[in-house]
Amino acid sequence: MVLRRCQKLLGDEPAARDAMHDVFVQVLSHADELSDQAPSSLLFRIATNVCLNRIRTRKRRPEDGDPDLLVEIAEHTDPAARNAARAALDALFRHEPDDTALIAVLHLHDKMTLQEVAAEVGMSVSGVRKRLQKLRTKLHSLEAPP
C-alpha cells in the first residue's frame, strides 16, 4: 500500500521505493507512541507527507520538471485558468503550512469527502472547509490579472 501510494504521488519507481523506506523509518522510529488503531491511515498520511516533502525539495532541480500532482489539483479548481494555475499553485503551496497541502491533496487528488479528510487529519469538518476555501480564494487571487 505504501509503495503504491508513493508511486502514485511521485510517479517514479526508484524515488517511490526510497520514499517508502523513509516512511517506515519514520513510523518505526516512533513505534512507542503509536496506537494500533487503523495503521493503514497513519501509513497513508505519513507516505503522503514524505512524498509532498520530496516534491517540494526537487521542484527546482532541472531534471525533474513540473510535478503532475500539482497540475492535477489545478484541474479541479477552475478549468478556465489551468495554465495560470500551474505557476500559481507552485507559489500557493510555498506559503502554506504542510497540513494545508495535505488537506488539498486528500480532498482534490484523492477524492476524499470533507468528512473523510477531517477524520484523516484530526480536524473538524468546518476547519477543513475553511482551509480549502482559503486555499481556493488565495489561488483565484493569484490567478487574477494584475
Binding site: M1, L3, R4, R5, K8, D18, A19, H21, D22, F24, V25, Q26, L28, S29, A38, P39, S40, S41, F44, V50, N53, R54, R56, T57, K59, R60, R61, P62, E63, A91, R94, H95, D110, K111, M112, T113, Q115, E116, A118, A119, E120
Partner: protein, 282 residues
Amino acid sequence: MTSLPDWLVERAALDEVPPASRGRIERADPRELADRVAALREDSAAELTTHPAGPAVAQIEAQIDARRAAEARRRAERQRARRLGWLGIATSAAAVLVVIRFVPDGAATDRPGGVEAPHARGITHDEATRVKGVPRLTAFRQVGDRAERLERDVLVHAGDLLQLRYDAGGQGYGMIASVDGAGAVTLHFPSSEDAPPEATAVSTKTTTLPNAYALDDAPRFERFFFLTANEPIDLRHSLDALRALARRADSADAALELPAGLRQWSLRLRKPGHPSTDHESP
C-alpha cells in the same frame, strides 16, 4: 454509481475502512470492489516475491538504530555542555574566593576579576566549540562554457544555472538550503529533508554538490545558507527555522535563529526587484 478512489479500496482490502467512509463502500458495486481488492492483493504478493521484506527490514532497522544512537550522543553532549557550564561557574567562583582570600586588599581592588575570568571562559570555549576553520559556501553560474564565481549581492536571473561548492572548515556535519524572495525554502544538501541526521555528514575536502539547478522566477533575492555542526544536524528543526525566516517580511536581511551548536554561513544573490546591494555577513 461512481468508482471508489484507490485509497478507499486499499482500506477495504485491509479491512480498515474508516467510519466516515462506510457509506461509500456500501453504495459501491460489490463485484467491482471485490475485483479491485483481489488485484491489490495480487500486486502486493508479486511485490513481496520480487522484493522480499527481509533485506529492507534489516536496512530500516539499521537506520533507526543509527538515528537513536545519534540522538543519544546529542543528549550526552548536551548534558556534558551543561556540566561544563556549571564547572565554569564553579571555577570562576572558586577563583574569586582564592583571589579575595590571598591577594592583598589593594591589589584585588585594582584588578577586580582580572585574573580568573579569562581562565574560566577558556575552559568553556575550548570544550564547547572546537573551531578549526571557517565553513564557506561558494556559488558559481554557468556562462557559456565557463563557470563564473558569484560574489555576494551579484545580480542573477531566472533560468541561471547555479552550482554550489562547500568547505566545511573542519566541521563534521552540514546542510545547505536557500530561501528566496517568494518565501520558498529549497534544500540542496542532503538531497532529502526526510534524511536522517547522519546524512548531514560532510566531506573534509572542498566539495561540489552533484546537482546544478536553475533559478526560478522568485523575485528580489536568493539567499543560501550553509549550516554546520560537530554533531549530526536535525534537518527538520533547521528547515523549520529557515521556513520561519522565509515567512518574514525582512527575510532578505534578517538573521537566521538557530539552536546552539550550529554555525551558519550565508550568501545572498540579488534578483530583479531587489532594492539594494547591501551587505551580507557570514
